[in-house]
Amino acid sequence: MFNFSALFRKTISISLSVRKIILPFFLWILAPVLILTSAFITNGIIIFLFGYNPIEAYAAAIGITFGSVSAISETLVKSTPFLMTGLSVAIAFRCGMWNIGAEGQFLIGVLAATWFGTKIAILFPNTSWIAVPLCLSFAILAGGIWGIIPAILKVTRGVNEVISTIMLNYIAIHFVSLMIDGGPLQETSKTGPQSDPIAEWVFLPRLFEAHRIHLGTGLAVILAIVLTFVLFRTTFGYQLRAVGEGAAAAEAAGISISQNTLRVFFISGALAGLGGAIEIMALVPHRLTENFSPDYGYTAIAVALLAKLHPLMTVATALLFGALAKGSFAMEAEVGISRQVTLMMQAIILLFVIGASAVNFFRKYNRQQKL
């Protein structure tokens, strides 16, 4: 006779393992997938309402982003600035610092690299072993200093960092324009608002001869790993997270809030600045132009939040946003949608991430980030 009670017990044990193992796994993988799918569908509907064909648009985007080896290499190249700025934002947000200033810090990094590459590197020709690391450090320093300004204002004057970082973004944008449009960094022929190309021995080398993927991409991924280690396996990282979780409690435990604020803003700015330097040192035309950054710094917020502020996950989300940015070119060229549709898309993803945190099903996924 069939043993019902055994079957019953077996069902219970399966359902237990479903709850304990499969469901959490399912949430980790499926939650972001569901968020993204809904965001893509919503965006598709908007595209449709504008009178374009969303399927055609998406197909064009996918073809150009993952259609071939060189397409994938290009997508990785496009993802690099998103990864660098995403890491910058992730580490600041982890510490509870709303650094909206990655845009400005990125640009100041580019500016420093341009200055070094066009003015200083000339002094010691054909020495890439020294020029490249020096140029990178220069950008790191410049980005870090630009990043620490809002921290100083916050610590000493109590200025809200959201507003000061946004103001510094605008100042950086106009400052870059000042330098390359009539300023000392404008190209020697003075024809257009752009700098001279940086010296050849400051270029970042490619990883493979045939593809544009470069050392900077590798550097960014290594940095993501290092940051993960720092954040979760060192005292410093622990302090950062403690301040982010609850400043008052951290202070009661003897962790200096002002010191961590200054540190995290420097690191955050340095990462964004380095990201800027990588862009100009690795990619043709190696010149600083106007609109050098298509809002990398703002997109970075979506990149970091979708990754739950985890440096390793940021690699994946940066790849997604790189693909989005690249795909939008195809959508513009083949379907005629304005390239700015990506900004909309990013915002929708961001809103879905926030929305998901309020839905019970996603609670577990979102437990870490209190959005």
Binding site: F50, R157, V159, T299, A302, L343, A358, K370
Partner: protein
């Protein structure tokens, strides 16, 4: 130009520059007093600027009515954007800084896509009726600064009228008291029977509508033009005005005039043709903003519950 003419010119430009900032900042004062920090003003202004022009463009057959339709549509589109904000910030209780940033990104993308779809890649439509300057009878005849103070388009005067209105609402009505209580101690006001979520939503919608109208001013007053990203940080400056104005409508009015002066000088200095790069002047309002925040804020006087989502079940 003699000195009086220059001063008059700068004064008039200050008032024109301050108007959109003032409109957005007044809405934001109310929202922040209710405890909601709306970083999305920049996006709401941008959407208002686009739809203000669109509204006027499609009713151009009625030249007297069209700008008003545009202004109404601008306010409405700002209000709808704020409704989206409210859904995420109040219904779903998400983080307001992130939602605000998302709204601004959304608006940047959305306005450009709509704009390209409607008008193509090149230029604004030519035939958009807009608000023209007119002389206030008698007042503009006042010697010295009468002309600078009273020769403007109608929205300027409306914006100025809003200052006492918002002040009266916040400090001399029962509803205003409740709004302020929402920002200071939502639990207390909830205990005595007010609906915190509803009040905050209403204040947000008001802020959105005001930001939309502020944006509409940019595209409908004096010169009818829309360019993608044309708000150029004015929404964020409105945010700074609220802080500098210590969350008070009258003080915010003063702060708006200061930043209006910043924008006015930006234009005037460029017109003077000095041998200085123009970008310095573009930076001016933002540097001014930072300096003002660093120099004057000092003691925090923000509403206590500002930026904290309210959970009625707690």
């Amino acid at each position: 130009m003699d000195i009086i003419a220059i001063l008059e010119d700068i004064l008039a430009a200050t008032i024109r520059g301050a108007t959109p900032l003032l409109l957005a900042a007044l809405g934001e004062v109310v929202a922040q007093r209710a405890g909601v920090i709306n970083i999305g003003i920049e996006g709401m202004m941008l959407i208002g600027a686009l739809f203000g022009m669109v509204g006027s463009f499609y009713t151009a057959g009625l030249p007297f009515l069209a700008p008003w339709v545009g202004l109404f549509v601008a306010g409405l589109s700002g209000l709808l954007t704020a409704a989206l904000f409210a859904f995420f910030a109040i219904r779903l209780r998400g983080d307001q800084v992130v939602i605000g940033t998302a709204i601004t990104l959304l608006a940047l993308g959305f306005t450009e896509v709509v704009y390209v779809r409607l008008f193509g890649k090149t230029g604004s439509p030519q035939s958009v009726p807009y608000f023209k300057q007119f002389d206030m009878p008698f007042l503009s005849q006042i010697p010295l600064f009468g002309d600078a103070l009273f020769t403007h388009n109608i929205i300027v005067f409306i914006a100025f009228l809003f200052v006492p209105c918002v002040y009266f609402f916040l400090y001399h009505t029962q509803l205003g008291l409740r709004v302020r209580a929402c920002g200071e101690h939502p639990k207390a006001i909830s205990t005595v029977g007010s609906n915190v979520s509803l009040l905050r939503t209403m204040c947000l919608l008001f802020a959105g509508a005001m930001a939309g109208i502020g944006g509409g001013y940019l595209s409908l007053a004096d010169v009818p033009i829309f360019t993608p990203g044309m708000t150029a940080g004015r929404g964020f400056i409105a945010l700074a005005i609220v802080i500098f104005g210590k969350w008070h409508p009258v003080k915010a009015f003063g702060a708006a005039l200061l930043f209006g002066l910043g924008f006015a000088l930006e234009n005037r200095f460029q017109a003077f043709g000095w041998d200085v790069q123009y970008q310095w002047f573009l930076m001016l309002p933002f540097v001014l903003c930072l300096a003002v925040l660093a120099g004057f804020v000092g003691k925090a006087e923000a509403p206590l519950a500002l930026g904290k989502p309210y959970d009625p079940s707690e």
